[in-house]
Structures are given as structure tokens and as C-alpha cells.
């Protein structure tokens, strides 16, 4: 830990720069894009599934945590239902409303390598290790095994439906089979050659296959070729040598005029279906652009309407916009790299200086260090006491942690997986730490989507199914169920944010349908609902003095809502009327925390991955002509000039790759950083590539 003084123009803070949270994002294994809802589903190596909203600045709407030993190999949307299949041999359907697994059924074909649904939404096809393609009928509430297609000798690696749903192309070891779905028999068998220069004994794996509506089958294989086949004759039309390594993933655009291929060198190659002679109709697939945004294998690509999305072993989701498809260039259409989840993985016990880090399989509790005296701005302080790890709590069972929290007093720790919720009482006197599990929990607290303590640590709020919030009172004796808060109306989407007011009177909840409900905790009734905004809420907080709810949205807009008056505050209306500065709106990561400075009630502190910002509500708002990042300019000005030049936004970019920022009661800031370089060093070595002149 480092402690430095942060001087913005508006105040001084002692900063705990925390870099000991060894958060390691998991590699991306599969992508599935739903054109109708504009949602991108991402499956990671640890079995978690995330849903991103493509038209809402790729906000991570839903996270379904994974399990141990559950390697997802494929993802597929059928209508608005999401299915996955993995090497454990089961097909899983997800309950996206409550963000959990709905059910898992075994396909009885050994490990499943691929899953794909037809465009009609009637059937799912899975490719199994035993060489069968199994068809499942998608029913109202479940899926049901229908039949096997002709069994093959080798495993089925990849599958693609013809858009009409009458044929399926399957990529296997060394060959591609085309099946007639009706008869279940193979129509064509096309051999993929093992490639010149490679050893004859090394099999050619057809990693990916795409079936176009005009009957062209496109395959990507381990020899590094993208091949085009004709399904009428079963012959090779053309082959493109893309790489010396493997072509791992293919994806075609909705109107079938563009194709992207991801390779194990970390490059994405685009092919376009262009007419060779202008204003004529004979078109050909031509290799065009190359995108190099990854360092490691690209395991999944998806071409969405205006961008190419790719993900791989380096655990970042890259959204590369296709400039020729974009009408207006804006912040929403910029290159986007998503490294960290859009949820908080760190919670702070503000009053006792404890931090709880949430890993997939365990929790870590740390005590912050201490320093002596004050320093000059920008200098490092002497660390009197080093931070120490007090506790590591391993999760029982195979499920990963969904959410966790530590109470502000530092006396309670709670976490929830998909199946269980556990509450612990923490005794901490000097150096003796002891922890006791609260054994008898109320039945309703079986699982939670989001957890939160009241500011006096007397109550636990647990967001649960149907957008409801359960309240439990905490005391030395244990935990007692108090009541349930239910919204009057609206959707039943899971709650992903909770915010309790400092005076213990109000509780706000936000769900993935962008609804924000406010409850009166004294009457345990719904108080009001904030008008629904088109973009998701990424962070919110209730001001301790004015009891106004401050909300940040994925499109970088901010609102302040007065709970007592049930309306937006004047400042919020001014912001909306004047609009935010271009530079503010163009930032590409969402704000993840809203804090208030009790010393200076007009200050709101926000942070995203790249910066820390203090909004002074008493100062004028900047318009597009004013200099936005004006800290350095202000420094050079005299006191009077500074007054006329300064505006409400004070941005600090000293810190990078921020996971969490928290303001402690002693006016110190905790900044949890996870440098991307550290993540890169922990990744496996990428494929070695020859670089010219090295």
C-alpha cells in the first residue's frame, strides 16, 4: 500500500493506494449475440455468463456466477432464452430475470463441444464427444431430447444451422459433414487437408463453421485456413491462408456480407463479400482488414451491427467499431476494451478501516495501514503500520460468490452464492481475529442478488427474487427477519444495486430494467419510483445531509432525485438542461461508485476505471467551450482568475485501472488499483511470433 496526498483544487485527501487485490479476470470462451434484444452473452473460462447491453454502451447488465468444474464451451440464444453447454456434458438454461441457472440436463453424449440454436427458435443442436449431433426441441419451459443425427466416428467440434433450418454443417476432426435435419443423414462429407508443412499425423481440427443462406459453408481450422465450400457439390470454392496458427472462431454479420475470423495469434481478420466489378452483382469473399487488439488466443468473435466483438484468453472483451457501418461517429461508437466487471468487488468497513475483497471462490479481509502526520501534496507518506490480511474465507461448495459485503462497523461479513447465503460475526480485538458463523438464518435469506448493510450496521438488506428486498435485523444473538420490501409494480428483474441512507430511513434499489425504487424503512413500504431512464444505473448513493439520491447511468448522464420531494432537484434539472461536457460523455467506462464528503456537502465523488472525479455542485457547469481538464491551468492562475475559470468537475487521473474508490470518515480515500500489466504477467505465454528485425 502507498499513502499519498491527493490535492485537487478543492481539498486534500490522504489516499490509500491499494494494489494487493490480486483480482484475475477469467478468459472469454464463447460469445452469443442476440440481434433482437441487442444483448451480448459472454461465457468465461470459470463458467460465469455475463450479459452486455450493446446499445447501452456495453454495460454489463447481468452476471451469472460460475461453478467449479464447469467448462462452458458454447452459448446460444433461442429467442430471449440463453443456453449453454459444456465439457461436463450438460445443457444449461439460464434464468436471466433472477440471474441464475434455471436447470441443467444431461445430453448423454459425453463432453459437449458446441451448441447452436436454429433461427426459427424450435431446436437446439449440440455436438458431442461421442460423434453425435443431438437435436433438442425447445419447449415452453424446458428442452427435450428429440433425436440423434447419424453418428460419426470423431467428435463434433463446431456446428452451424442453415438459416432455413433444414441442414446442419458440422466441423469435426479433418472433415466437415453436412446433415439433412429431416432424415438425419449426412449429405456431404468434405475433407479438410492437414496443410503443407505441418506433420501428417497432426489432425486438422475444424474449430468453427458458418453456414450461409446461399449455401456457402465457411470453416476455420487449426491449419490456419478459412475455407469456403459449396454445399451443392461439396467442393472447396476458395481458401484463404489467414495465419500459421489456428483459426479458432468465425462469425458472420446479420446480412451475410462480412465475416470475421479470430486466430490464436490474437488477430481478427475481416472478410467482406464485395463485388469485384463495381455496380455488378458477382460478389466474392475478399480478405480486407486486420484488427490487432489482443495479445492471446481469440476464442470467440461476433460481428454485431456496427462492430466486431472479440474475446479470448487475455480476458478482455474488445469492441472494435466498423466505421463504414456507423452513421455518426460518437463516444458510443469508439473502440472499447472491457477489462473489469461493472460491479463492485470490494466493500469497505468505513468505520473500522477494513476491506473485503471478493474473489470467485473466496473472500479476503484486509486492514488498511496507517501513516504518520501530513505530507506535502504529491509526496509519499511514511507507512507506520503495514496493511495486513486478517482473514481468508473459502466458499463451501462448488458455486462461486455472487455478492458479498462487510458491515460499516466491521463486525459482520455476508456473502451469497447461487444457492446459499452465509453471515459471519467478526470479533476483532487488537490482533486476535475470530469469526463465528450465524447458523440459524431466516429461510428467506437463502440466496441474494445483492447485499447491503445499513449505515449503523444494525440491519442487513438482501435483494432477492422478484425485485424484492428482505430486511433482517442483526444483533449479538443473531439475525432476525424483519420484513420484505416489494415494489408496487414494474418488472421482476433482479436488483443489482442497493443504497441505504445514512440516517437509516431510506433504501434505494436499482434493477436491470433501469427501475429505481425507494423504500421507507420505517414504514417498510415503497415510497416512490424514480422516473425510468433509458440507460442502466451504474452507481447510486443517498446524500447524508439532504437525502437526495444521486444516480450515475451507463451513458454517463447523472441525476439527483430528492426523495422527500419525490422530484429531481434543481441542480439535476440544470445539468439536464445545459448538458454535460463532451469529454465527460465520451468516457468509455461506467462510474462504479458515488460517495459524499461529509465535510463539504456540495461535493460528490465519482470514479470509473481511469479517473476519480469530484463534482462541486456549487460551481457552474462547464459548457463545450470551456477547458474540461483544467487542473494544471488553474494551478498557474491567481486566486481571482481561478474563481472565474473553475467549473464543477475536478478530474484526477493520477490513478489507473481503478477497481474501487471509497471515502473513509477520516477524510482519506481508498483507491484499489489492479494494474493491467500485472494481469498480463499472470496470463499464460502467448504464441511466439516472429517479428521483423528482431
Amino acid at each position: 500500500m502507498m499513502s499519498t496526498d491527493l490535492r485537487s483544487a478543492m481539498g486534500e485527501f490522504k489516499v490509500h493506494r491499494v494494489r494487493f487485490f490480486d483480482y484475475m479476470p477469467s478468459g472469454i470462451r464463447a460469445l452469443a449475440f442476440n440481434q433482437d434484444t441487442e444483448r451480448m452473452a459472454v461465457a468465461r473460462m470459470d463458467g460465469s455468463v455475463e450479459v452486455f447491453h450493446c446499445s447501452d454502451r456495453f454495460f454489463q447488465e447481468k452476471i451469472i456466477p460460475g461453478r467449479e468444474q464447469c467448462g462452458i464451451e458454447g452459448l446460444s440464444w433461442v429467442g430471449e432464452r440463453l443456453f449453454s453447454a459444456g465439457l461436463n456434458g450438460g445443457i444449461t438454461e439460464y434464468d436471466l430475470t433472477n440471474q441464475k441457472v434455471k436447470y441443467t440436463i444431461d445430453a448423454y453424449g459425453g463432453p459437449i463441444w458446441t451448441i447452436t440454436g436454429n433461427q426459427q427458435g424450435t431446436h437446439l443442436a449440440v455436438g458431442c464427444e461421442d460423434g453425435t449431433v443431438k437435436l433438442f426441441e425447445v419447449n415452453e419451459d424446458q428442452i427435450q431430447f428429440e433425436r440423434n443425427l447419424d453418428r460419426q466416428k470423431s467428435r463434433i467440434i463446431s456446428l452451424s444451422w442453415h438459416p432455413s433450418g433444414s441442414k446442419i454443417a458440422a466441423g469435426m476432426m479433418d472433415m466437415i459433414q453436412v446433415f439433412n435435419v429431416e432424415t438425419g443423414h449426412s449429405i456431404h462429407r468434405m475433407l479438410a487437408d492437414r496443410g503443407a508443412g505441418t506433420s501428417r499425423s497432426k489432425e486438422c481440427v475444424v474449430w468453427s463453421v458458418v453456414y450461409l443462406s446461399d449455401g456457402t459453408i465457411i470453416t476455420g481450422d487449426s491449419v490456419g485456413m478459412v475455407k469456403l465450400w459449396d454445399d451443392q457439390t461439396g467442393t472447396l470454392i476458395k481458401s484463404h491462408n489467414v495465419t500459421k496458427c489456428d483459426v479458432l472462431a468465425l462469425s458472420v454479420s446479420q446480412n451475410e456480407d462480412s465475416l470475421v475470423a479470430g486466430t490464436s495469434e490474437g488477430i481478427v481478420v475481416q472478410f467482406q463479400f464485395v463485388s469485384m466489378v463495381l455496380e455488378k452483382d458477382d460478389k466474392e469473399w475478399v480478405r480486407t482488414r486486420t484488427f490487432r487488439n489482443h495479445t492471446h488466443d481469440i476464442r470467440a468473435v461476433a460481428e454485431i451491427t456496427t462492430a466486431v466483438v472479440s474475446g479470448g484468453m487475455d480476458a478482455q472483451l474488445v469492441v472494435r467499431p466498423l466505421l463504414d457501418k456507423i452513421e455518426v461517429r460518437s463516444a458510443a461508437s469508439a473502440l472499447r476494451k472491457i477489462h473489469f466487471p461493472h460491479r463492485r468487488l470490494v466493500s469497505c468497513a468505513r468505520k473500522s478501516g477494513l476491506m473485503l475483497f471478493q474473489y470467485p471462490g473466496h473472500l479476503e479481509l484486509w486492514r488498511l495501514g496507517e501513516s504518520e502526520g501530513k505530507g506535502t501534496p504529491g509526496s509519499s507518506l511514511f507507512v507506520k503500520r503495514n496493511p495486513e490480511k486478517l482473514l481468508q474465507l473459502k466458499v463451501k461448495g462448488e458455486d462461486h460468490i455472487r455478492c458479498s459485503a462487510v458491515s460499516p462497523c466491521g463486525g459482520w461479513i455476508v456473502y451469497s452464492t447461487a444457492s446459499t447465503l452465509r453471515l459471519y460475526r467478526l470479533h476483532c480485538d487488537n490482533n486476535n481475529i475470530s469469526i463465528t458463523k450465524i447458523s440459524k438464518l431466516p429461510k428467506v435469506l437463502s440466496s441474494a442478488n445483492q447485499l447491503c448493510f445499513s449505515s449503523d450496521s444494525s440491519h442487513l438488506f438482501s435483494a432477492s427474487a422478484q425485485s424484492s428486498v428482505h430486511i433482517a435485523s442483526l444483533s449479538q444473538s443473531g439475525c432476525k427477519f424483519v420484513g420484505t420490501l416489494k415494489p408496487k409494480s414494474g418488472s421482476h428483474q433482479a436488483i443489482h444495486l442497493l443504497a441505504a441512507s445514512e440516517d437509516g430511513k431510506w433504501l434505494a434499489s436499482a434493477n436491470s430494467d433501469h427501475e429505481v425504487h425507494i423504500y421507507n424503512l420505517q414504514t417498510q413500504k415503497a415510497h416512490c419510483t424514480v422516473p425510468v431512464y433509458s440507460s442502466a444505473v451504474t452507481a447510486m448513493g443517498i446524500h447524508p445531509a439532504t437525502n437526495c439520491l444521486f444516480m450515475m447511468h451507463a451513458d454517463q448522464q447523472m441525476f439527483e432525485y430528492s426523495i422527500e420531494q419525490k422530484q429531481y432537484t434543481d441542480w439535476s434539472r440544470t445539468v439536464q438542461r445545459k448538458g454535460l461536457h463532451r469529454f465527460w460523455v465520451e468516457r468509455d467506462t461506467p462510474c462504479l461508485n458515488v460517495m459524499f464528503n461529509p465535510q463539504n456537502p456540495s461535493h460528490v465523488i465519482l470514479h470509473d476505471m481511469y479517473m476519480l472525479c469530484i463534482i462541486d455542485q456549487s460551481l457552474p457547469l462547464p459548457d463545450d467551450k470551456t477547458q474540461f481538464y483544467n487542473q494544471l491551468t488553474l494551478k498557474s492562475l491567481t486566486e481571482e482568475q481561478r474563481k472565474s475559470q473553475s467549473h464543477a468537475f475536478k478530474v484526477c487521473k493520477t490513478f489507473k485501472d481503478i477497481l474501487c474508490v471509497e471515502l473513509m470518515p477520516d477524510q482519506s480515500l481508498v483507491v484499489v488499483e489492479r494494474p493491467l500489466e500485472d494481469i498480463a504477467t499472470q496470463l499464460p505465454a502467448p504464441i511466439k511470433q516472429k517479428k521483423f528485425a528482431t
Binding site: S275, M276, V277, L278, T288, R289, T290, D324
Partner: protein
């Protein structure tokens, strides 16, 4: 000026053949390239120079095949004309005077103009319709390309330029060196290939759309791509750059490529024949390589190699009458100016040349032939910039058996400092070499008397420890003149006795030469103080002197004439005079705008017999000179040009046989035989001739069959009157006349 009316400066012989892309005739039998004022026609099979298209009066800047007739070629020149040629017969068909095209007036600003060539039967027409397509284009022909279809040319061009501007804007921020260097259009598809400074090649498609254009990038060259060319079928893309590797990219198959490395100099242009069987690359060392489509080099057409500077003098090999000068690094090249052909390279340094910038390597700096051409002396040195100078004096003997020079003696420390001047004695009996060096000595070298015929030092001379600047033998080798700064000393080579000193201050002696033949009693010298002096050696007195800044003094070995180039006020003047007469024979003001440091008289094969006083000096030899821009220029007379024009018109060649000098020899013989035959069987042979001329003439230049039929039938009839031979004669000529008419219908 009256003198210059029939003598003019031409670029004939040793000119650049790599200025524009060469073109290959549609039957792949000929390669055409621009070379100075000429368009040269080479055979692809034998690499032989067949003939040249002569008629332009200034640098030819471009050639292209007539799209309507593949046997014709258009050429354009700085003289403001576009000419249409029949390149097989070498006949000028038509001249277009393009009035507005004055490239010489504004060489900085190149415009692309489309000229509408009016249709008319006259031989000389003026093209008036002209429209500028785009301005500020690059001078390099690799930077313009035409796409598929005549109608779309303009379209593609404009779209390319807009594309060029905004794509550069988009990527300039990253500091990438992606400036465009060359462009090529696909022959059938709408695809543009561009080469970039960083060695990348981009293939652009869909470029008509403002936004939906797309491109793919390919990268092999590590330096700028100089040129790009699609094969006529469009299956391959050829690229070349400084690496001198020809790269063949398979069109549409990503990275599949083939290489043809080690082609010599860096590749400047690539062109392909219309059937795609042959490729031509022109290189920076003035060379055209003919390459088969299987990537095998099948012919090299080597022009005069011109490096950055010619360090040796221009010399004439007395045996082969070839021009000798620096060629490839470390070599002397032998170049026949009469045949305009590179003969061979003589490796002087005999060390591997390493292609790396800034490396100090041995270079041939001096060379001299003796009078018979049996000895060659060379000096090579390195360390010009640094203080540790290293140099060798080498003597080469001509070996009759191998017909080339063989190293005889290497003298490692001939002098203690750099050799300034070197000359052989000009007597037939004894050969002697004199070298003058900066160590204030001159040395005479002789061949050993005994059977070891190695060279050794015979005499060392010096004068008041002054540095010698020049040395020269008189025509009969009885006197040796060595200049030491301002003083000229005359020595007798037999006794090594200093006879006299001549001194005409002020100024260091720059050039020194003895008069020839009737003027051998005169010694000429130029000084740095702009003085040209002539001494009479019999009286040891100054005969005359004149104030002129002479940069090069060149005596003609075959006459009394001496040529002097003087440089003043940014142009070079030429004076030709006899030492005995102070009045010049010939004056040409403003020969060129650069300084001339090298010149040589090249003997003619057969002397001209011009009586005109001003052209007489060119009767026996021709004066070539080299400008600072490395252009080799010469003078030609009107009579000479007329003779060449008439000879080219006689050159009517049978299409079926490749035109080689061998054929021309044999062909003459055959024609004579045929003549004999005709005389013996006058009647039976004539119909055959007529049929032959009808059948051998390409069908597209023949008149309609209905016109020909009666004549054709007539030709079979046996004539019995004296009128018929005449009619047959007109018939024979008829298709030739029709050729012109039909083309412009």
C-alpha cells in the same frame, strides 16, 4: 545561331533506359523503352538492340502501345509532340503537336491532361482539345494508373485522389509512414493497389462509395514500395522496391507470394506483356531485366551504368573502341556507343562489395590505356574521407587468348600519397607509365626487360618539392610535360633530363595537353585563373592565351582539334579550335546548363564527308560529354540524321523472322539471291511476290477483300506487255499505302 542549326545536342547512346516503364509488344517479341531522344526496340529473346524510333528532338518521357493497333506505339516527349510509330518497321506514322504541353516550362508542377487526338489523314496534326484531369501529380510514372474501361478512367482517378487524401488524414496521427508511393489498377476488377513508404501494399475495393470503401493490407517490403503492376489477367500483383527482389502476390489469396531475389539495382518499374508471359523490370543501375512468367530471368538489357559519380575519365578502349568508365562498384565497364550496348565489366577491385550505407569501400578512381590497348593501368583507393588513405596501382595486360585484361602487376605503395594524374607514353615501341602524386613526385614505370614482364619503377622526378597537378606525353612520346602548380616542366623520357620550364602565372595548371598531328609543336594548358594558354615548344614561348574558364580540355586523337568546355553564368559553352589558329572552328553556346567535367572523342566507324566548315570537326569522331546530372550527351549533324532516317526507312523486315543482326546479314544475302532469281525468271516470280505481300500483310491493315480481289486475280495473269511490270510494282506498294489510310477511317 547559324552554327547550331545543323549541329545539335542529342541524347543518343548511353542514355537512361529506366526512366519510364518498358513496354512489351503484344506478341512478346519486342521490348520498347525510352532512351534519351529515342525509343529503342529490343528483342526479348536475344536481348539485342534491333533499331530505334528516331524523330523526337528532346527527351522522350513516355511510351504506350496504341490500344487500337497493337503494332503501333505512341511516344511523347519534352519537345511537345506525341508521335505514333510503327515500331516493327521503325516508321513514323503521325506527329501530334500538342501546343499547350510545355513540361519544360514548369517542371515542378506536373499535370495530368487528357488530349483528344484528332482523326485526320495528314501526317502532322495539331491537337487542340485538351482537358486537365488533375494537377499536382507526381512526376514518377509509377504514381499514375488507369483502371478498367476508358469511360471509368476519370472516375477512378478522382475517387482515388479523394480517398488518398482522407485516408492519409485518418492515419497520420499515429506517425506511420504511410505516404503513397505507387499505384496500380486491376485490369478486370475494380481494385486499386497502392504501395506505401513503409513497405505496405494496400488493396482498395468499393472505393466509389464514400464510406463503405474497404482495404486489405499486405506487408513484405521493409522499405518503400517503388512500383506495382498487375498481370494482364489480374491473377497476380507484382511489386518491387529497393530490396531488388521481385515479389509476386497471388491476387485474392492473402499472403501467398513468390520471390525473385538478387536482380541487381533496386527495382524502379515493372511491366507485363499483354499475354502475361513476360515481365520486365527496370532497375536503378540502368538495366532492364526480362523475366518469364515462371520467374526465370531470360534476358538482361544493360544500359550504361551510372553511379553517383564517374571518378575515372571517360576513355576509349583502343581495341574495341568502347567507352570505358566506372560501372558497378569496383568495376570498369566497357560500353559500345556505336551499338549502344554494354559489353562487359572488368572487376578491378576483386573484392566482394557490401551493400551498406556509409561503408568505405575500394573504388576505381583512375584508369588509363596505352596507345595499342594492350595495357591498362588502374588506381583504386579507399579512405577518401578519413586520413588513412589506402590505394593500389594495378597494371593489366590484354590477353589475346581470352580477349580480356589480366592482372599483371599490383603496386601497393606506388607513392606515399594520392595519385593525381596518370598517363601512358604514346609511342608504339616502348610503353611507359607516368604517375604524378600528391607526395610532390612523379614516377615513371617500365616493364622489366627480362622474361618476367612485371612493371617496376624507372625514374622518380620532382621539382622544388611542389605538388604535381598533371602529366602528359606528346604525340610522339618524345616529351613529357608535368605541371607543378603554376609551373610546367618538360622532360625528355629517354634521358630523364628536364629540358625546360614554362610558366605563365597566375593560376595553378588545371589541364594540360599536347597538340596532335600538324599541331604537335603546341602545348595547351588551362589554369584556375580562367586562362587558356598555348605554348610553342620549338620557341618555348607563349603563342597565344585567352581568358576563358575552361572546365574540360579534350583533344581529339584523330585530328588537330581540341574541344574546350567552359562554364560561366550557369551554362556550358563549347569551343572547338585548332591550336595553330586562335579562331575557333566551332562554337556552341549553351550546350547544357550543368558543368561538364568529362568528355571524350569517340572514333566513328566510317567517317562522314561533310565539307561544311562547322561540321567538319565531327567527320572522324564524335564528341560525347557527361554532365553533372550524369546525362551522356553528344552532337549530331543534320546530314547524319538524314542518313539514319533514310536507313531506317529501308529497313522493311519480314514479320516472321526475329530481327537480329544475324538475320540482317543473312537477309541481305537472301535479298540479293532473290534479285538474281527475279532476273532469271521475271514472269513466273512476280505473281508469287504479290501473293506473298498480300498474305503476309496483317489482315487488319489490308483493304476490303472486294477491292483486293480483282488485283489479286490479275496478279496471276501472265503479262505479255511492258505495262504490266509497272502495274505489279504499284500493287506491291499498295498495301503499304493503305496502311496509313485505313487506320484513320
Amino acid at each position: 545561331m547559324v552554327e547550331t542549326s545543323d549541329i545539335r545536342v542529342v541524347r543518343c547512346g548511353g542514355s537512361k533506359v529506366n526512366l519510364t516503364p518498358p513496354i512489351i509488344s503484344s506478341d512478346s517479341r519486342f521490348v520498347l523503352c525510352t532512351s534519351g531522344d529515342l525509343v529503342k526496340v529490343y528483342s526479348t529473346r536475344t536481348e539485342e538492340w534491333l533499331h530505334s524510333l528516331q524523330g523526337h528532338t528532346n527527351q522522350v518521357t513516355g511510351i504506350t502501345l496504341n490500344p487500337a493497333n497493337h503494332l503501333q506505339v505512341y511516344s511523347c516527349s519534352v519537345d511537345g509532340t506525341v508521335k505514333l510509330w510503327d515500331f516493327i518497321d521503325g516508321i513514323l506514322i503521325k506527329v501530334q503537336l500538342v501546343s499547350g504541353l510545355c513540361v519544360s516550362a514548369c517542371p515542378e508542377c506536373f499535370q495530368l491532361v487528357s488530349v483528344h487526338l484528332p482523326k485526320s489523314a495528314e501526317q502532322e496534326v495539331e491537337a487542340k482539345e485538351m482537358s486537365a484531369v488533375s494537377s499536382h501529380i507526381s512526376k514518377n510514372p509509377s504514381c499514375t494508373a488507369f483502371g478498367r474501361g476508358v469511360r471509368s478512367v476519370k472516375h477512378i482517378f478522382i475517387s482515388f485522389f479523394s480517398l488518398c487524401s482522407f485516408s492519409l488524414k485518418a492515419t497520420d496521427k499515429k506517425g506511420a509512414k504511410n505516404a503513397f508511393t505507387c499505384i496500380a489498377c486491376h485490369p478486370t476488377d475494380d481494385c486499386i493497389a497502392t504501395g506505401h513508404e513503409d513497405g505496405k501494399i494496400r488493396l482498395w475495393r468499393n472505393f466509389i462509395h464514400k464510406k463503405e470503401y474497404t482495404y486489405s493490407t499486405q506487408h513484405w517490403h521493409h522499405n518503400a514500395v517503388n512500383t506495382l503492376c498487375f498481370t494482364p489477367e489480374g491473377t497476380h500483383l507484382l511489386s518491387g522496391g529497393i530490396e531488388s527482389v521481385l515479389v509476386q502476390w497471388q491476387y485474392g489469396a492473402g499472403n501467398r507470394k513468390e520471390f525473385l531475389p538478387r536482380l541487381g539495382g533496386s527495382i524502379l518499374h515493372i511491366s507485363a506483356s499483354s499475354d502475361g508471359q513476360l515481365f520486365c523490370t527496370s532497375h536503378s543501375d540502368n538495366k532492364i531485366t526480362v523475366i518469364e512468367s515462371s520467374f526465370k530471368v531470360c534476358g538482361v538489357i544493360q544500359g550504361l551504368v551510372k553511379g553517383d559519380a564517374v571518378l575515372t575519365d571517360l576513355m576509349i578502349d583502343p581495341r574495341s573502341k568502347a567507352l570505358v568508365l566506372n560501372g558497378k562498384p569496383g568495376h570498369l565497364q566497357f560500353y559500345s556507343l556505336l551499338r549502344d550496348k554494354h559489353l562487359y565489366n572488368l572487376d578491378i577491385v576483386q573484392q566482394e562489395y557490401i551493400y551498406e550505407a556509409g561503408l568505405d569501400q575500394f573504388e576505381v578512381v583512375k584508369a588509363a590505356f596505352d596507345i595499342k590497348g594492350s595495357w591498362l593501368a588502374t588506381v583504386e583507393e579507399r579512405g577518401k574521407k578519413s586520413s588513412d588513405l589506402e590505394f593500389f596501382l594495378k597494371l593489366w595486360a590484354f590477353d589475346e587468348r581470352t580477349q580480356s585484361f589480366v592482372l599483371n602487376t599490383t603496386i601497393t605503395a606506388a607513392h606515399t600519397d594520392r595519385i593525381i594524374s596518370m598517363c601512358f607514353s604514346s609511342s608504339e615501341e616502348t610503353t611507359m607509365l607516368v604517375t604524378a602524386a600528391e607526395d610532390s613526385q612523379f614516377k615513371a614505370w617500365c616493364q622489366g626487360a627480362d622474361d618476367q614482364n612485371f612493371w617496376s619503377c624507372d625514374f622518380v622526378g620532382s621539382y622544388h618539392k611542389l605538388n604535381p597537378t598533371n602529366c602528359s606525353f606528346s604525340a610522339d612520346s618524345s616529351l613529357l610535360a608535368v605541371s607543378f602548380q603554376e609551373v610546367i616542366t618538360i622532360w625528355s623520357p629517354d634521358t630523364w633530363e628536364m629540358l625546360t620550364t614554362l610558366c605563365q602565372p597566375p593560376g595553378v595548371i588545371r589541364d594540360l595537353c599536347f597538340g596532335r598531328l600538324s599541331c604537335s609543336k603546341y602545348l595547351l594548358g588551362t589554369t584556375t585563373k580562367n586562362l587558356l594558354c598555348c605554348w610553342n615548344l620549338l620557341t618555348c614561348e607563349l603563342e597565344w592565351s585567352t581568358s576563358v574558364d575552361v572546365s574540360k580540355l579534350q583533344p581529339d586523337p584523330f585530328s588537330e582539334n581540341v574541344a574546350a568546355f567552359s562554364y560561366q553564368s550557369k551554362h556550358t559553352d563549347l569551343f572547338v579550335f585548332k591550336p595553330s589558329e586562335p579562331r575557333p572552328l566551332f562554337t556552341n553556346k549553351n550546350v547544357c546548363s550543368e558543368k561538364v567535367h568529362r568528355a571524350v572523342f569517340v572514333p566513328r566507324e566510317e567517317p562522314l564527308n561533310s565539307c561544311d566548315e562547322s561540321t567538319q570537326w565531327l567527320n572522324r569522331s564524335q564528341l560525347y560529354f557527361l554532365t553533372q546530372n550524369m546525362d551522356l550527351l553528344t552532337f549530331s549533324t543534320a546530314t547524319e540524321e538524314d542518313r539514319m532516317l533514310s536507313s531506317s526507312k529501308q529497313l522493311v523486315i519480314d514479320d516472321s523472322v526475329a530481327v537480329t543482326p544475324f538475320y540482317l546479314l543473312l537477309g541481305k544475302h537472301r535479298q540479293q539471291q532473290q534479285k538474281l532469281n527475279t532476273q532469271s525468271h521475271p514472269v513466273s516470280d512476280k505473281p508469287q511476290q504479290t501473293q506473298g505481300s498480300l498474305l503476309h500483310t496483317p489482315a487488319h491493315v489490308l483493304p476490303a477483300a472486294s477491292v483486293l480481289c480483282s488485283m489479286f486475280v490479275n496478279s496471276f495473269l501472265i503479262s505479255n506487255t511492258g505495262v504490266h511490270p509497272l502495274r505489279v510494282k504499284t500493287l506491291v506498294n499498295f498495301p503499304k499505302l493503305m496502311k496509313y489510310e485505313l487506320l484513320y477511317l
